[in-house]
Amino acid sequence: MRCGRALMDSRWATPLLLISMMLGLLGCSSAAERADRASRTAQSWTATARRTSKALAAGAVPRVYAVQMLEAALQTKSQLEQRPEWRSVAPEIRSHLADAARELASSIHEGSDSMLEP
């Protein structure tokens, strides 16, 4: 109760409001930042899918793991595609993700890319 009264006190209200506004301004990411984040995520999953294909070919990971990674890569790709900032990501980055997922699918299914079909 005492804490509640302190918060309601006008001496505290102004600094608290200012701090919240400052945090809000700093925290709300701009469109460029969102696009940068989407781009990084796509590149990260492209590299992950390629690394997994390589590891699968070398026998360093089991097939069951590669399937999980493919599903995760496809899920990430589909989530990214639903975001408005995805359109501002460089086309080659977008296509690299799709290519890497396709390569991984073919490594798993020996050439079949059935998992990529809608």
Partner: protein, 404 residues
């Protein structure tokens, strides 16, 4: 048991207990995003937790009090309740992350979603607590945690540059995405300085009937054990820095982290990663559940002890039973374990002063520690690192959450 054997056992259990889901997640993220640049955060966290673990053992050995017991006696119920509430909130989140970590380890090798594993894994954790003795939990599970040494082997096999590691030891400002940098740094501190570790350690010292003759053993265990634990966490960071950073892989799922060991160690490395994740998370989950039960029982005057039969410590047993059931159900809902882990580690850093400051007062009170009180180095180090972690968390958590 000879002192040397006690030290060896204590060191092994500390090494096994240091690395858990939080340490693996935060250091892997750090290495992947910033290369060697955040090694300093692991070092700071290790220094602080070494002091705190040593203090908690010393308090138990000299005063025959656990931290919670002494807190309640020295500061009264109000301060005790504040620390209890913060412990319960944080421990619930971290326990959920550990149950998630074990479930994910099983998902990696079976392909069955971690959501299906949450309940069986929760049951296993509960069963070990119900049936097992303190010795089994402290030594058995923690000794199994030595499998985590595989990260050290992987780091050596990758032949990292000592000069780059040396640069990472010195704190530096981020050149890229400062908010993310500080959020990860805070997470590393939170993962290393987990309060449940020293609550568990002080309760263990009482369960093992320590007295003043154990002060030397305690110091050796804290310094060597935590030091090696920090080395293991640094190894995870180094492996991620060498394998993920150059490729731009920044894990947003735990499944990606499994690739860390398959490159240097092949398929065996993959299975060892899954084993390490499972065993380390099991050890941490057991310690967390017990530490929370200890916190309730020691402050509220209930009968307690992992060596006491459950029927003779029913309220103590009820606390961990309810906790494990609640978080297992929570993980069935499909929360991303990695996101939960990172957030819970950052929140741990946020509440550090709440935990460490009253503890420091106890450690400087001659009524409790006699002439074995803290020196200025340990007081200064713990205050400085706790305040730094908390302030960084205060700024980084809301910004990271709002910025997505």
């Amino acid at each position: 048991m000879s002192k040397l054997v006690q030290i060896a056992l204590g060191v092994f259990t500390s090494i096994g207990g240091f690395l858990e889901v939080g340490a693996i997640a935060t250091t892997a993220q750090a290495g992947a995003a910033y290369g060697f640049q955040l090694i300093w955060a692991v070092l700071l966290g290790t220094i602080c937790v070494t002091f705190l673990v040593e203090m908690s053992g010393r308090l138990a050995a000299v005063s025959r009090h656990t931290i919670k017991d002494a807190l309640r006696e020295r500061f009264g119920p109000r301060i005790y309740m504040i620390t209890l509430v913060s412990d319960v909130i944080i421990n619930l989140m971290v326990l959920a992350a550990e149950i998630g970590g074990m479930s994910l380890a099983l998902q990696l090798v079976t392909g069955i979603s971690f959501r299906w594993w949450a309940i069986p894994v929760g049951l296993l954790t509960w069963l070990v607590l119900w049936k097992g003795s303190f010795g089994l939990i402290e030594k058995g599970v923690s000794l199994l945690g030595m499998v985590a040494l595989v990260f050290l082997v992987a780091a050596f096999r990758l032949k990292p540059s000592l000069a780059e590691i040396g640069q990472g030891v010195l704190p530096s400002l981020p050149t890229d995405r400062p908010l993310h940098y500080w959020f990860i740094a805070v997470g590393i501190l939170g993962a290393a300085i987990s309060p449940y570790l020293f609550y568990f350690y002080s309760s263990g010292a009482i369960e093992d009937d320590w007295d003043e003759s154990h002060i030397g053993v305690n110091r050796a265990v804290a310094v060597i054990g935590m030091g090696f634990g920090g080395l293991l966490a640094t190894s995870v960071l180094i492996v991620a820095a060498m394998l993920f950073h150059p490729l731009g892989i920044e894990p947003d799922r735990f499944e990606q982290v499994a690739l860390l060991l398959s490159e240097p160690l092949g398929r065996l490395g993959f299975y060892l990663f899954a084993a390490t994740l499972f065993i380390c998370c099991l050890g941490a989950a057991l310690e967390l559940a017990l530490a929370t039960s200890y916190s309730f029982a020691q402050g509220l005057g209930w009968n307690w002890g992992e060596n006491v039969r459950p029927r003779n410590a029913s309220r103590f047993t009820l606390v961990y039973t309810v906790m494990i059931a609640a978080v297992s159900i929570m993980m069935v809902s499909g929360i991303n374990p990695l996101e939960l882990t990172l957030l819970s580690m950052a929140l741990t850093a946020l509440v550090l002063p709440l935990v460490t400051f009253p503890f420091l007062i106890l450690m400087n009170d001659p009524d409790y520690v006699g002439d074995q009180g803290n020196g200025w180095i340990s007081n200064t180090a713990v205050i400085a690192i706790s305040v730094l972690g908390s302030l960084l968390a205060l700024v980084a958590i809301p910004l990271q959450l709002m910025g997505g």
